[in-house]
């Protein structure tokens, strides 16, 4: 089976691996009894689900950074916005089971002595509305931000700093109680989603499965984008934007499209993340989070979509392990790893792997480049 896997194109490889991992984890969790060597605990399923949300976020960043040279230091903001959209829906599902027992208002609003839902909470109890918001909130922000930045031809370091400022500003705004998003504490104590308890193992397993499916679908879409004609143009923009303009392409519209698409993916990742970890708070907007995404992608291998996934999973796993043993050492380890990878493995972890098992490429050009 392994030999067969080696002959597939990268999309087929990634989708097969995700399918195998997803099915294995779900079966191992349900079929094997606890204590069995093959058993995968519900805790591990949950943890893996969280990593895969990070993987989707890393994929989104790699699309803009690896393929179009847009180094966003604010992708955490789109992730958090998607998460907040989901969080609002989950808050409303609590209903009168909150501490204050108010059927209409979430606890934090009762605490603030508000007597009705603010306008931007209208509709948040609808699942469909929530899905729309998960896509629209990050999508619109990215579209407006991208349209302004790219049409004014802001790029490079300046753009990175602006994205960083954007997420920082949002963090400060969401920290305020008056914003109406739970302030400092954010939103938590979720009870159920579509009527299914979030505490039940089955719901968690379904959420995990959904994350696997969505990650695979997103991978397929990203791969389609980077290999189609638009993808070639996007790569060309990365290498020589002014030349692309002279050939007659409005490079800004390509960048706005890619940035918006990537932000929507990040938002979806956030929405899948929140029910699995059970909390969303303004800390998700923190600039450090966004920088960590960049490090995942750099360590995994920038400009290869699967590298982003590998980077996110490997680094997050290392973080879980290391923060368990020595919490204060994590940031040093992360920094050190980043420096080592940049110096020794400029193509990231997948650079090592690709040398041994080159994937079947779609175009002969890439074959010749290797």
């Amino acid at each position: 089976m392994l030999a067969k896997l080696m002959r597939l194109s990268s999309v087929q490889r990634v989708v097969s691996i995700l399918a195998i991992v997803g099915i294995y984890v779900i079966l191992a969790n349900t079929l094997f009894p606890e204590g069995s060597f093959f058993h995968v605990s519900s805790y591990s399923v949950n943890l893996l689900g969280k990593y895969l949300c990070y993987a989707l976020l890393a994929l989104a960043l790699d699309l803009v950074w690896g393929y179009c040279g847009i180094l966003s230091l604010g992708h955490g903001a789109f992730f958090a916005l998607g998460g907040y959209a989901m969080g609002m829906y989950l808050m409303r599902q609590i209903g009168d089971r909150g501490v204050y027992g108010n059927p209409e208002l979430p606890d934090f609003m009762v605490f603030l002595n508000w007597d009705s839902l603010p306008w931007f909470w209208q509709g948040s109890d609808s699942f469909v509305w929530m899905i729309a918001m998960v896509v629209l909130a990050p999508g619109l922000l990215a579209y407006v931000f991208g349209a302004m930045a790219f049409r004014s031809r802001v790029s490079g370091v300046y753009l990175s700093i602006m994205t960083q400022a954007m997420t920082y500003a949002l963090m400060l705004a969401f920290f305020r109680n008056e914003m109406g998003f739970g302030g400092n504490n954010g939103m938590t104590d979720f009870k159920d989603i579509l009527g299914f308890s979030l505490q039940s193992d089955t719901t968690r397993l379904v959420l995990f499965g959904l994350t696997v499916v969505i990650l695979a679908a997103a991978y397929y879409l990203c791969d389609r984008i980077v290999t189609c004609k638009a993808g070639k143009i996007i790569t060309a923009i990365r290498d020589s934007e002014s030349r692309v303009r002279f050939v007659g392409y409005n490079s800004a519209s390509y960048k706005v499209f890619l940035f918006t698409f990537s932000a929507v993916l990040a938002g979806i990742a956030g929405a899948l993340y929140v029910p699995q970890v059970g909390i969303i708070n303004p800390g998700e907007f923190s600039p450090i989070n966004s920088i960590e995404i960049v490090i995942w992608v750099a360590i995994g291998g920038r400009g290869t979509l699967y590298g982003a996934i590998i980077g996110a999973v490997v680094v997050s796993f290392a973080k879980t392990r290391l923060t368990g043993i020595m919490p204060e050492a994590w940031l040093f380890a992360l920094g050190g790893l980043f420096v080592l990878v940049t110096l020794l493995l400029p193509k990231g972890l997948v650079g090592l792997f690709d040398k041994r098992f080159p994937a079947k490429k779609n175009t002969t050009a890439q074959e010749n480049a290797a």
Partner: protein
Amino acid sequence: MRPAMMTPEQTGPDTRHGMILYMENVSVSFDGFKALNDLNLYIKEGELRCLIGANGAGKTTLMDVITGKTRPDTGTVSYGQQFNLLQHNEEQISRLGIGRKFQKPTVFEALSVKDNLYLSLKMDKGIWTSLWHNLSGEQKDDIDRILHTIGLTEHRDRPASVLSHGQKQWLEIGMLLAAKPKLLLVDEPVAGMTVSEAERTAELLTSLAGEHSVVVVEHDMGFVRSIARTVTVLHQGSVLAEGTMDAIQSDPEVKKVYLGEEGNA
């Protein structure tokens, strides 16, 4: 602009008077330095024109003004009789049919030779088209024909980054041709080329004139002599002399400021 039903890209420049480009009284200054000084230049349809001039004479600035990269302080630039190029940006000017080859070869290094031409084809350049586009048979033929013209057929699938300097220059000319331009601006095509490469480039450019109007900026006098029918000499941002190579070389003004400085070519 005339109220036609067709888009500007479809109508093409109005060249009923035989001229494709008019530049009148164009001045550009950078921090007080006059890069172009009251310049007047007319290019006929289908002609092959060489621009020569010492460093700083304004050759590259002139190209920048035509392609919309630099806006002149004063003057008018029109393409055919109806397009005021000063009202269009780089992408629009490119779509109107003015192609430019840069001094330094700038091909898309990460893409294959074929894909470099693919991106340069004259077609809708919007994002939605690009997301769903597949090459039509006609477009494949266009690409094959251009590959043949520029002599890179056997390198079609190789990434542009591995081409030699001369091959990159040809690829760039091919990219211009793919856009089916009316006016080609070619900046120092033979800089850094071997003698045989320069000869092939001369053949290529001569074969393009007629169907296209070609403006070549070049330092290499031997090369200019081998291709030029009309030569324009720029000096300090304006036209010093214009005529055949022989007439230019015997012009006393030109001898004094240009050929005199560079030695008798």
